[in-house]
Symmetry: C2
Subunit: 193 residues, 2 copies
């Protein structure tokens, strides 16, 4: 499907397409290596300010050791929500996760289909009525977003319809889109002292 | 409910409790100011590497201007997923969002209840079978996490049962927990050229 040639670097759009297809073939032969576990650890700092550390994960049959340092991200609330404004809200990080997942899919799918991309940008908006989380609703207002809208601009060397199909296929295969639209069971346990 | 006294700083756990309650009273009187819109914009860089910018949001009846600079976060895939390992995966950012939202709630609720916290830490694990996003499943494997587990450690000046209740109440009032467990409608449109 790819039109990459060996005299050029194997990447299209920065995606190593031969390795991408090779990876697919390895997983087809050994489907058990597709089981991954991702993790984050979080530490409360003060107020509603906290910091997450992301590094290790399990996948491809082993504990990953490829990351040579921790990734670290703060979260906080703005002043209007009685926070310190040190970082975005957790709900905004969820929008980042959604946009980034769909965009990664677009890049992989375009590369597999031999389409060179020039630009992929998106804006994500989430509407939330804080009567829910503030406990001021009569039960009709949910805690989370009532709706999320994603606006993509995709430019590349393909007809408009093929570029739009990249987004549609990414939507069909996005991990974060699936979780955010369909939900996932979350269990919580507490060690308190 | 708070035991804060005016001769001390009004914060408990770094939460400005009088302002928190004042905010609740303002919203009770004007519930329409509880309507917020959060946003992120994302730009593809190369491969599956992208960058989101977070800054502006609408809330409390106006466009927020309190943030004096953009927050910026990259996302990428690790090498085993044919990425550049420049940043965590989008699916890991979702775990950060979940942990940080629950932790913010714990801090606010503890402060409102007059409980001084000493430590709130958590680890979040999400299990995902990549046969879904790789398109190698017969339809039985979903794209996103199959389950997420959150383990909290909470230490504070209150009996164990009261500390555990902080987590339970945060779970009942968390925006991200709601979205991640129940899902939310997401609409996507594309401008392609």
């Amino acid at each position: 499907m790819t039109t990459s040639t060996t005299q050029e670097r194997p990447a299209r759009n920065g995606v190593d397409v031969p390795t991408l297809f090779a990876t697919l073939n390895v997983v087809k032969a050994q489907p058990e290596i597709a089981k991954f576990q991702f993790r984050a650890s979080n530490q409360w700092i003060s107020g509603v300010h906290s910091r997450s550390t992301i590094r290790g994960f399990y996948g491809a049959g082993q504990e990953d050791t490829s990351r040579d340092q921790d990734f670290s991200y703060d979260a906080d609330h703005p002043a209007v929500l009685v926070g310190g404004n040190n970082a975005p809200t957790p709900a905004e990080f969820l929008l980042h996760a959604l946009a980034a997942c769909l965009t990664a899919g677009i890049a992989n799918i375009a590369s597999a289909r031999g389409i060179t991309l020039h630009e992929v940008t998106s804006t994500v908006e989430g509407d939330i009525d804080l009567l829910g989380i503030l406990g001021l609703s009569d039960g009709t207002v949910r805690n989370g977003y009532e709706g999320i809208r994603v606006h993509f601009t995709v430019k590349g060397d393909a007809p408009e319809e093929q570029l739009k199909e990249l987004v549609q296929q990414s939507q069909r295969r996005s991990a974060v889109y699936d979780v955010v639209t369909n939900g996932v069971p979350v269990s919580i346990d507490v060690n308190a002292a």
